[in-house]
Amino acid sequence: MSNNGLLKSSLAKKYLMALTGLFLCTFLVGHLAGNLQLFIQGAEGQQAFNEYAEFMTTFPLVKLLSYLTYACVLFHIVDGIVLTIRNRKSRPVGYVKEKGSANASWASRNMGVLGTIIAVFLVSHMQTFWYKMHFGEMPMHDGLKDLHTVVLAFFSPENSLGIVAVLGYVLAQMALAFHLVHGFQSGFQSLGLRHPKYTPAIEKTGYLFGIGVPLLFAIIPVFLYITQL
């Protein structure tokens, strides 16, 4: 029937991109749910957040999910790079004049750039919190690693780079928003999940998800910074 296997096909790379991307969307929801506890102020919030952090790093099922998440991040990035290289090769000589804005959204044309910004943020973000929590020296509170204090200290006016951290965080969330607004509905399209009845709802959900999730993420460090002024 066909010489080429599924995995060699360009469409398979798109399926992988869509599946990993959509899985990472569910990861964002989980992560956000945890972060929202940072709005609880005082000792109560500290306890809740630290217990949550303990749960996320030790509970076996969550650990399993976290490995799946790392794998998805990795595959999403590698697949994205492979696709980008192939796509560049498909047009070795570019146009002198190209009006991309006439027929496609800015986000859809710049997914690679947006993804790169998110990846850079991810490295810095994981170094600041994830690495410290897993392998670094952590302050203790009530027998738990005190991630709450680490987070507050990082997004604090006391931290000489606190304002840079807040701004960087907000900027990265903006990139994430653009990435999601295109990526969410694009994932469904790549998997062939398009239907006149459901697609408008998918597109609307993608828009709300893409704006809402990064917005909520971004408010948290701003809130923490202001309340510590």
Binding site: K13, K89, R91, K99, N103, Q189
Partner: protein, 249 residues
Amino acid sequence: MDLTLNVWRQNGPEDKGHMETYPVSGVSPDMSFLEMMDMLNDQIIRDGGDPVAFDHDCREGICGMCSMFINGEAHGPGRGVTTCQLHMRSFKDGDSITIEPWRASAFPVVKDLAVDRSAFDRIIQSGGYISVNTSGETLDANAIPVPKPQADEAFSAATCIGCGACVASCKNASAMLFVSAKVSQFALLPQGQPERASRVKRMVDQMDEEGFGNCTNTGACAVECPKGIDLSNIARMNRDFLKASADSE
């Protein structure tokens, strides 16, 4: 109208090529873009030069031969039109117009604005057909009942004229809209069912072999398509390919 044309000149596939500027005057707003190009070539020939090579045939928007990337868009600024259906009234007196060939590694430049689109032909040859016994007992296509909505959708897909504007507009030079239209026009009809799985696999494989890029769902192709081919065709092809790959041995 007086215009300044910046035209891509390339003397054969191996030539590096360059942009050249030509002033043209006395252009009527009622002229089609191709008639304006004829006028330019008349002028070049009178001056003893080599006329600009460009593809064209029916000049009524149904053959898919005319191409040209005009002012940064396939078939120019109009929507739902080919270059032959684009009229000079879409431009203003004194305008500067940039005219380039389709750009894709799968569409090598033959000369100037003419590109080789036989990659599309090879994709069709790989599976864009139905096998029918024509020994004399051939069943009349009209004898097979087809629900009206499916017939309409299949027809919409079949209106693709294979001009390549989708490839030219796509930032990845992807041929997904073209291939998906050709897959869909059969996938939607009963006659297309026997070869449905092998067709989509063969055509996608051939598309990859020709070196077209991947679809990143920007939707530029559907906006620039002179026939308004819908993105739902791409989704159908993605679906069919996944199903065909999962089912095959």
